[in-house]
């Protein structure tokens, strides 16, 4: 009759470690094939990736009008966020954003793929959080911190040279859409020394302001970022309403490229610098 | 206005309709155009009315080509009553009759005293004075025909062209219409009227012109035109033996009664 013997505890621990080691090893190493399926996660991936880490970015990243990192994106294979494509790419990490359909995310996970969501951001706090999140996921935290410090430095430099009084500004888009509270435009205006009239008129997020109400609010400067410059439509034509010119004392509407406003990222510093430069020069 | 048409030809839709018809119309004369369907009577009227244009030298008015008249001048001298006359909008009788003065008025001219005078005179003559406010669609067939004729008379034309003006009318209204056309002749104008009713034609017309297959078969005094031979050839009909003469065959054997004299209300 075999005598039952107790397995020594330290042996058990050793055996347990052996079992867990492979799993730990996969978390310890940085992901080697990262795929991003949305424009905003594309941006951060392109900025923070180690060499060779990027397996694919979404097709939208190639568009110079909407993608800040468009020229970089051209170096990588492109995906259309289709299931078959993603499976074939054999990614060990998929980056999606807040707007990605939850059912699609569930589907990807069902196939055993690792999906991490980069939430939407509309202020500096959110931008910093996202940079840190992606940097950690890519095991490139130092790069992330560098980006943040550079961004903060530039924004601080702008803040040091702002005029004493804040002039009134509004972002006016085709169809009368304006950017109110909790938008990237609002953050940028704020840090560039402008008052956001849209927020003051009570617009939350992106909302419509009627032309007459806008005129009554009497902005000093109008900004716009019409998508697809050089194209024509009734909505775009209405941006050139003469009343808009005259209300700002014949100061023309200033176009700020659209790509600064779709995704929150360190490029907001660029936008803040442009907005700060747009202050009327005091003699 | 003396009208002379020589050897008139006309094609419609590729088919020859008139194959050499001559016509003559003197002042104060009522000429009846008769003949079977498709003989070219309406086409001939439309030639004179100016809706179709013949070669200049073939249709002369007072010796000069009719085509030399401007369209508006022609509109003042020649009035045309179409076969199925109608008014496309429910206008009042008074306004329709007043439209007859249109050829005499410039683009912006409003009817003047003379025009009102003519309109009133015609309304009286046609017995329509009491109907001026009635809307056209509400009228009876006879009244409608009278209104459209009144419109034509208001033009004070030299020539009145009437295409089957009595086709759908009852006997008394037929007589009324023909009396009015005769009145126009008595006042110095001339009339060319297309008729199917041979009795009316022979009774009222000074001359008849019988058209067959785009050519004139006979023209002249009604008695001379309405011969059994012509009738057989043109219409394919024969006078029965009990009627002894052509004159008796086409005599008007009735007239308007007292209650239906032109000036009284129906």
């Amino acid at each position: 009759m075999p005598v039952p013997y107790k397995i020594p505890v330290h042996v058990l621990h050793f055996l347990l470690l052996l079992l867990l080691l492979p799993a730990q090893a996969s978390f310890a190493e940085p992901p080697a094939r990262v795929v991003s399926i949305n424009l905003c996660s594309d941006q951060l991936l392109l900025m923070l990736a180690r060499p060779g880490q990027i397996a694919s970015v979404s097709r939208l990243a190639l568009e110079p009008n909407s993608s800040h990192m468009a020229s970089e994106a051209g170096r990588y294979p492109v995906n259309d966020a289709k299931l078959e494509q993603l499976l074939l790419l054999e990614p060990d990490l998929i980056l999606a954003e807040g707007f990605t359909s939850p059912s699609f995310v569930r589907l990807l996970k069902h196939f055993g793929l690792r999906v991490e969501i980069v939430p939407n951001s509309f202020d500096l706090k959110g931008i910093r959080r996202n940079i840190r999140l992606v940097a950690t996921l890519l095991s490139n935290q130092s790069k992330g911190e560098a980006l943040i410090s550079e961004m903060d430095l530039r924004i601080q430099r702008v803040a040091d040279h702002l005029p004493a009084a804040r002039s009134k500004a509004v972002f006016y888009q085709p169809r009368g859409y304006t950017s109110g509270l909790d938008t990237l435009q609002d953050t940028a205006l704020n840090h560039a020394g402008w008052r956001n009239l849209s927020k003051e008129l009570g617009v939350n997020g992106y909302g419509n302001i009627e032309l007459e109400s806008l005129l009554v609010a009497a902005p000093d400067q109008l900004f716009s970022s019409a998508y697809a410059p050089g194209t024509h439509s009734v909505a775009q034509h209405r941006l050139s309403h003469p009343a808009l010119n005259r209300i700002t004392g014949d100061r023309p509407m200033i176009e700020i490229p659209y790509r600064y406003w779709i995704c929150g990222g360190p490029m907001i510093a660029d936008a803040i610098e442009i907005l700060a430069d747009s202050h009327p020069v005091t003699p | 206005m003396r009208l002379v048409g020589k050897d008139l030809h006309q094609h419609l839709g590729g088919q020859p309709i008139l194959k050499g018809v001559s016509i003559e119309l003197r002042e104060g004369e009522m000429l009846g155009l008769i003949g079977p369907n498709g003989a070219g009577k309406t086409t001939l009227l439309r030639l004179i009315a100016g809706i179709l244009t013949p070669p200049r030298e073939k249709l002369l008015a007072n010796g000069e080509p009719l085509a030399d008249l401007s369209q508006s001048e022609r509109g003042r001298k020649i009035a045309y009553l179409t076969q199925e006359g109608t008014a496309h909008w429910p206008i009042s009788v008074g306004r329709i009759v007043a439209l007859g003065r249109l050829p005499h008025l410039g683009t912006w001219q409003k009817p003047g005293e003379k025009d009102d005078h003519v309109i009133q005179r015609v309304l009286n003559q046609t017995g329509l004075s009491g109907l001026t406010d009635r809307s056209f669609p509400t009228l009876s067939g006879g009244e409608k025909a009278r209104v459209l004729l009144a419109r034509a008379l208001t033009i004070e034309p030299e020539i009145l062209l009437a295409d089957e003006p009595v086709a759908a009318l009852d006997p008394s209204h037929q007589l009324e219409m023909m009396d009015l056309l005769k009145m126009h002749c008595r006042q110095g104008g001339s009339v060319v009227v297309v008729l199917h009713d041979l009795r009316l034609a022979s009774h009222y017309c000074d001359r008849l012109q019988l058209l067959l297959d785009g050519k004139t078969l006979a023209t002249g005094d009604p008695k001379r035109v309405l011969t059994p031979g012509n009738l057989e050839q043109a219409y394919g009909i024969r006078i029965r033996e009990n009627n002894t003469s052509v004159a008796e065959a086409f005599a008007m054997t009735w007239e308007l009664g007292n209650s239906r004299q032109p000036d009284s209300e129906a």
Binding site: P174, R175, E210, L211, E212, S213, L215, V216, A218, Y227, A228, G230, T231, H232, S233, V234, A235, Q236, R238, H241, P242, A243, R246, I247 | R46, A49, G50, I51, S70, Q71, S72, R74, G75, R76, I78, Y80, T82, G85, T86, A87, H88, W89, P90, I91, S92, R95, I96, A98, L99, L102, P103, L105, T107, K110, D115, I119, S135, L148, R151, I155
Partner: protein, 332 residues
């Protein structure tokens, strides 16, 4: 002959029109003291309220007036010419043809290069569509044929507009389908007004004096010809006039429906059914209708931007049904 009739009517219409025009200057989301604004506007440095008056409300009222008048008078002229109470710029394709022409010119950017390109596009499209409907329906067409021809051309124009908007380079294009098919007077500027003005004035000018010929046409084409009316010239004149005026107006406002149908019909009994007298009255009536609709749109609660064409359609559609039923009564 009752001369007083149209004069009284026209005076009354003129009075209402002036009143509505002035009233529309007072209507808006913000209270604007109009007299004060008027006085400010002649200063070199205009105040905000004067800016609102002269650059927002005034052009809007003017555009409504010109467009409404155009639709009214062209509707009346077309109905007189075709002797059909259902002929209106909307039904016989003039409006949708104009929209198509304008869409082609605007979304390709030609109108940005040369400002006259936009109304030209509208005029050309309008003329083409109207001629096509006329050729399809024939000269003495009854209502059914005319409507069918109009439906055919309208559908064709609409689908082409939809296709072009989908293919247009601008991403905003697709959503603007509604603008072209329902029409809108909102956001018009004085520039837009000047763009539409030459063509509409030319069209109105061509229509003046056609009243006499339209009266004669009441008795039919043959009779009118014998009364001295040159029919082919009249037809061309009215087609061109409609193309110029409706084409220019629609190129700025989009195709606003039913004004050209409803207004002549309502006013016809008041002018004794005479087509000639209907022209001026319909012009003013159309302007009144559109001004009123635009004022109503502006009185809706803020945030809901209802297009003015929605209102005219809400009024026009049941009216159209009533018209069809009633037209059986006296249509020959």
């Amino acid at each position: 002959m009752d001369i007083r009739g149209p004069l009284l009517l026209n005076l009354a219409l003129g009075f209402v029109l002036t009143g509505l025009f002035l009233f529309s200057l007072f209507v808006g989301s913000n209270p604007v003291p109009v007299l004060q604004a008027l006085m400010d506007s002649i200063n070199r440095d205009p105040s905000v309220i004067s800016l609102i008056l002269t650059e927002v409300r005034l052009p809007r009222a003017l555009i409504a007036l010109i467009t409404g008048a155009t639709l009214g008078v062209c509707g009346a002229a077309m109905q007189g010419l075709l002797r059909n109470p259902l002929a209106s710029p909307g039904l016989i394709g003039s409006a949708s043809g104009a929209a198509l022409g304008s869409v082609i010119v605007l979304y390709t950017g030609w109108s940005a290069v040369f400002w006259l390109a936009l109304p030209f596009g509208g005029m050309f499209g309008s003329l083409l569509a109207t001629l096509l409907v006329y050729l399809l329906a024939g000269r003495d067409s009854g209502s059914t044929t005319l409507i069918l021809a109009g439906v055919a051309i309208n559908t064709l124009a609409l689908s082409l507009i939809s296709l072009l908007l989908n293919l247009a380079p601008s991403p905003y294009a697709v959503k603007e389908m509604v603008l072209w098919m329902l029409g809108s007077i909102a956001h018009g500027s004085m520039q837009d007004f000047w763009v539409m003005l030459p063509g509409t004035l030319l069209g109105w000018f061509l229509l003046t004096g056609t009243g006499r010929a339209l009266d004669a046409l009441t008795l039919g084409e043959d009779t009118a010809t014998t009364m001295g009316i040159n029919l082919p010239r009249l037809r061309w004149r009215i087609f061109l006039a409609t193309a110029f005026a409706v084409g220019s107006a629609v190129s700025v406002t989009g195709a606003i429906g039913f004004v050209g149908l409803v207004v002549p019909h309502l006013l016809r009994p008041l002018v004794g059914f005479q087509p000639g007298r209907l022209l001026t009255a319909s012009a003013m009536g159309g302007a009144i209708l559109l001004l009123a609709a635009d004022i109503a749109v502006r009185l809706f609660p803020a945030g809901t931007e209802i297009k003015v064409g929605v209102l005219t359609s809400l009024v026009g559609a049941p009216f159209f049904l009533h018209l069809i039923l009633k037209s059986r009564r006296w249509q020959p």
